[in-house]
């Protein structure tokens, strides 16, 4: 059975993923300082997919409050 992959349904998922990574990177670029070195967060955001971006937003950002 060869199911053709419903790209029209998967595309939004990839798109969301992309937004999260891009926004994560932008915020990282603008941040004056982060918890841990910046280059490490770049790698985490790029390679860690969803969890990577979330980890950055939760742990990495310093100036949240």
């Amino acid at each position: 059975m060869n199911t053709d992959i419903p790209w029209n349904l998967l595309a939004p998922l990839i798109f969301i993923q992309l937004i999260l990574s891009v926004v994560g990177l932008i915020s990282l670029y603008k941040a004056e300082s982060t918890r841990g070195p910046k280059w490490l967060w770049v790698i985490i955001i790029l390679c860690g997919s969803l969890l990577g971006s979330v980890a950055y937003f939760v742990v990495g950002r310093k100036d949240v409050s």
Binding site: Q17, I19, V23, L50, F57, S65
Partner: protein, 259 residues
């Protein structure tokens, strides 16, 4: 009322500038959509794993739409709650810790407005995130798996939303009581987990506790039952949310800053 508006606007602005308004709803959407997709492609994923003896076929009962929706809510109950707690935990403690609260509270402000704004913004973030994610899950389930009973899905969603509000209230209460972020996360997640487990162990005594809310939505989705306790649990949960709010307000008034 005017001060509530000011505080609320500030909370909204902060959530926007710290990107919370972007990433929390998006993560919830991802979580919601993931479950139907994974379920739909599970046979193929297993097949492509490939180390099955030739000729063996897996016969998997394709799950119903309702089951997939229930699984999605299960995801929200673990990962979703964790995300919420992590994104809300410093809402009160952060200002007390950093010292901004000293300047805010030396102004003639109302403590009820202050905490109420925290609560309302917490409700807003949770509601938007959850509704978006749940709607996504629903849409994908209908597209990929099968139909879902509208009434059951809405009630289940409603109960679940109340449960998340309760989880958020626990987090804010912990945030008013404790300073270290890790402690706040641990206490609020632990409380939520304990309540759920306790309701599983003593269903007769704790039928009305907020901890039974997750069970009620599963029952509602799968069997269309369990609604007799629902009204009780609903009211008790709302009262618990109010109690958390009152306790946090009292605490904020008592300890205005760390000196």
């Amino acid at each position: 009322m005017r001060q509530f508006g000011l505080f609320f606007r500030k909370e909204m602005l902060e959530m926007g500038r710290s990107y919370k308004w972007l990433w929390v709803p998006l993560v919830f959407l991802m979580l919601g959509v993931m479950q139907p997709i994974v379920t739909r492609f599970m046979p193929e994923i297993l097949k492509s794993a490939g180390n099955m003896p030739k000729g063996m076929t897996i016969t998997m009962e394709p799950p119903s739409g309702a089951e997939v929706m229930a699984q999605t809510l299960g995801q929200y109950n673990s990962v979703g709650l964790l995300i919420l707690v992590l994104s809300l935990m410093t809402m009160i403690s952060g200002e007390r810790q950093s010292g901004v609260s000293q300047m805010i509270f030396s102004k003639p402000v109302s403590f009820v407005s202050y905490t109420a704004a925290k609560w309302m913004s917490m409700f807003s973030l949770i509601t938007v995130s959850f509704v978006l994610g749940y709607a996504g899950a629903w849409y994908y389930t209908v597209q990929m798996i099968g139909s879902v009973d509208t009434g059951a899905a809405l009630t289940a969603g409603g109960f679940y939303l109340l449960w998340m509000w309760f989880g958020g209230s626990l987090t804010l209460l912990a945030s008013s009581l404790l300073n270290p972020a890790a402690g706040i996360a641990f206490v609020s997640l632990g409380m939520a987990l304990m309540l759920t487990m306790a309701s599983g162990w003593f269903p007769r005594y704790l039928a009305w506790s907020p901890g039974s809310l997750p069970q009620i939505y599963v029952n509602g989705l799968l069997e269309g039952q369990g609604m007799t306790e629902a009204a009780g649990a609903l009211i008790i949960s709302m009262l618990c949310i109010l109690a958390c709010f009152a306790a946090a307000t009292y605490r904020v008034k008592l300890v205005k800053s760390k000196i």
